[in-house]
């Protein structure tokens, strides 16, 4: 597959009513990949989508489509289509006419419209629903109509604005599989907006983690999960234990009052750092064998594992996911591999509290 950027953001800033929503953002979107814009509400992810769709113009910077600036090109002249958060189906039209809307505007022939609409409905498993009123359909079905209405126009890029947020958990998981599968079959670029990190990890080729109008990190789900670049990303993606520490020298880090071997290097000697250990990387063992000695404060059964909340002698909280059961109040040891430790530079942002999600 050619590595051509369909969409390029170059130093894009968006200011609404004096408020900086997007702050000097640059990125490339390639053909045929599944992208996710992930972040807490108000991080600017939906604004990026609206900029791509053409509903709003950047305050500064340039957006390119296939190398051509499109800042002033209105939404109806762009080769992208959107699946809206509330689906935005036209209530006065039936399913067929909703899906046919874009084709009718392009003045396609009746026979061609019929064929394409039916094909799109088949694609989203809604055969036989074409004469239904959209009002009498369930959330999941509306969702599919919205997707059919978008893909029938054969866009190069499909934008999805939190399309699963209104669905219940089971349906949401189902739709995650379906969307991923749909993207593979269509081979077009999907840009998916969500605040749900699990959704993002499960579906994406590439994730942009956003906070406060800036891209905090971009990478594959694995990179984002295993190698978060800062405290915000580590905290937002999955559950994690984040502690302040000091990088004494390469491969040696100090935190929680102890020194540990690690696999990170390239820091200044004695550089203050943030240390991340994922709860599933901590193993319960005896006090003697553990690298850390903690006391179990509470325990929840989560189905696939127990979630333990423990405290060490310094009062640091340790979240542990373990298939082994422990007793509340029990003194246990925690063991982990050097690879489980992930050391991060402290960014300027980290001076502030990280509790906005």
């Amino acid at each position: 597959m050619e590595k051509e950027a369909i969409i390029r953001f170059e130093r894009v800033t968006k200011i609404y009513d004096g408020q900086v929503v997007l702050d000097d953002i640059s990125f490339d979107i390639e053909r045929g990949k599944f992208y996710t814009l992930l972040g807490p509400s108000g991080c600017g992810k939906t604004t990026i989508l609206r900029l791509i769709a053409g509903f709003t113009e950047p305050t500064e910077g340039t957006i390119y489509f296939h190398g051509k600036p499109v800042n002033h090109i209105p939404a109806n002249k762009r080769q992208v289509n959107t699946v809206f958060q509330d689906y935005a189906l036209f209530p006065h039209l039936n399913v067929f006419e909703n899906v046919a809307f874009g084709l009718r505007i392009k003045k396609k022939k009746q026979a061609e419209i019929r064929e394409k609409v039916m094909e799109a409905l088949r694609f989203v498993n809604l055969e036989g629903y074409e004469n239904r009123s959209v009002q009498e359909m369930s959330g999941g079905q509306r969702q599919r109509v919205a997707i059919a209405r978008a893909i029938v126009n054969e866009p190069e890029v499909l934008l999805l604005d939190e399309p699963l947020s209104a669905l219940d958990l089971k349906l949401r998981t189902e739709m995650q599989y379906e969307l991923r599968e749909l993207q593979r079959r269509l081979g077009i670029t999907f840009i998916f907006v969500t605040h749900d990190q699990e959704e993002a990890l499960a579906m994406s080729d590439q994730i942009f983690v956003l906070n406060k109008g800036k891209i905090q990190q971009s990478g594959t789900p694995k990179e984002i999960y295993d190698e978060p670049v800062n405290r915000f990303v580590a905290d937002f993606i999955g559950e994690s234990n984040i502690l302040r520490g000091v990088m004494l020298k390469d491969y040696l880090v100090e935190f929680a009052g102890k020194r540990f071997m690690c696999v990170d290097k390239g820091f200044r000697p004695n550089e203050p750092v943030d240390v991340v250990i994922r709860p599933e990387d901590l193993q319960i063992t005896t006090r003697a064998q553990g690298k850390l000695q903690v006391r179990v404060d509470s325990q929840l059964f989560r189905g696939v594992h127990y979630e333990l909340c423990c405290y060490d002698e310094d009062g640091n909280e340790w979240l542990v996911h373990s298939t082994k059961k422990a007793e509340v109040g029990e003194e246990i040891g925690l063991y982990f591999d050097p690879e489980a430790i992930h050391v991060m530079r402290i960014s300027e942002e980290d001076g502030e509290k990280i509790d906005e999600n």
Binding site: N76, F84, F90, F101, G102
Partner: protein, 265 residues
């Protein structure tokens, strides 16, 4: 038990409707079968189907249509623009404000403005067109009526536009529709209920206008409204007046039936 309590709550309204709506209508129908001498007759109905009254009815309908049409023409864009402004409630208030002024006052004000020595003629003279007869013309009648009725057209349309989900407009644009196509295929169809309600609120009362007709149009425009007034107050032919009123009621019911089948979305 529950329904009986509800019926008790309904009672004042039912009594009110009975005395002030149902009874008068029945009385009108009753009177329409008596001639000026007080004898039972069908001649009033026969009379209504003579060219004089049919022409009057036609002109009433025609003027009501004109008033409704121009009100809609002005009110829809105004309501649309209004939903886009920042302080829409305030602007809406300004547009509704004229309804707080007594109708008669407003009409008299127009007598002054449109009169031979009024503001309108002064302006016409200033631009060199010279003074014209404005008062007692079709134009002034329709103009003043439209002015009076615009708020009644504007409000339901404004509400319908406010209820419209803005992401539907985004969706239409996203699917390639120009601004005009978006309006034609999405915005207008979805605000049609408001338009219908507004048209009812304007068309029905303008069918039976008589005060504006008398004052602004003089004898130039004779409608069913003025005819009823004439029969009741001048010729004292209550029977004929009632007959015309019966036809007006039928016409209004027909309008409601045609425009009123609203489906809630």
């Amino acid at each position: 038990m529950k329904t009986s309590i509800r019926n008790v709550y309904l009672l004042p309204y039912v009594v009110w409707i009975g005395i002030f709506v149902v009874a008068p209508i029945l009385l009108i129908v009753y009177y329409s079968f008596f001639d000026i001498e007080g004898k039972w007759t069908l001649s009033n109905y026969k009379m209504f189907f003579t060219p004089i009254y049919l022409k009057m009815a036609a002109s009433s309908v025609w003027y009501a249509l004109l008033v409704t049409f121009f009100s809609l023409l002005i009110a829809y864009p105004a309501a649309y623009a209004l939903t886009k402004t920042k302080h829409k409630q305030l602007w809406l208030l300004f547009l509704i404000l004229p309804t707080w002024v007594n109708l008669l006052l407003k009409v008299y004000a127009f007598l002054g403005i449109f009169g031979t020595y009024g503001l309108a003629n002064a302006i016409l003279a200033a631009v060199g067109i010279g003074p014209k007869q404005i008062l007692f013309t079709d134009f002034s009648f329709v103009f003043v009526s439209v002015y009076i009725f615009i708020p009644f057209m504007l409000l339901p349309i404004f509400n319908a536009l406010e209820e419209l989900n803005p992401s539907l407009v985004d969706a239409a644009r996203d699917l390639g529709a120009s601004a005009w196509t978006t309006f034609r295929r999405v915005v207008f169809p979805l605000t049609l209920d408001g338009v219908k309600a507004g048209c009812q609120a304007v068309f029905i009362p303008s069918l039976s206008l008589f005060m504006i007709t008398r004052l602004i149009a003089g004898n130039r425009v004779i409608t069913l409204g003025t005819a009823i007034e004439e029969h009741f107050l001048v010729t004292q032919n209550w029977g004929m007046g009632s007959t015309i009123a019966v036809f007006l009621i039928i016409a209004m019911a027909a309008v409601v039936a045609v425009t009123g089948n609203r489906k809630r979305g």
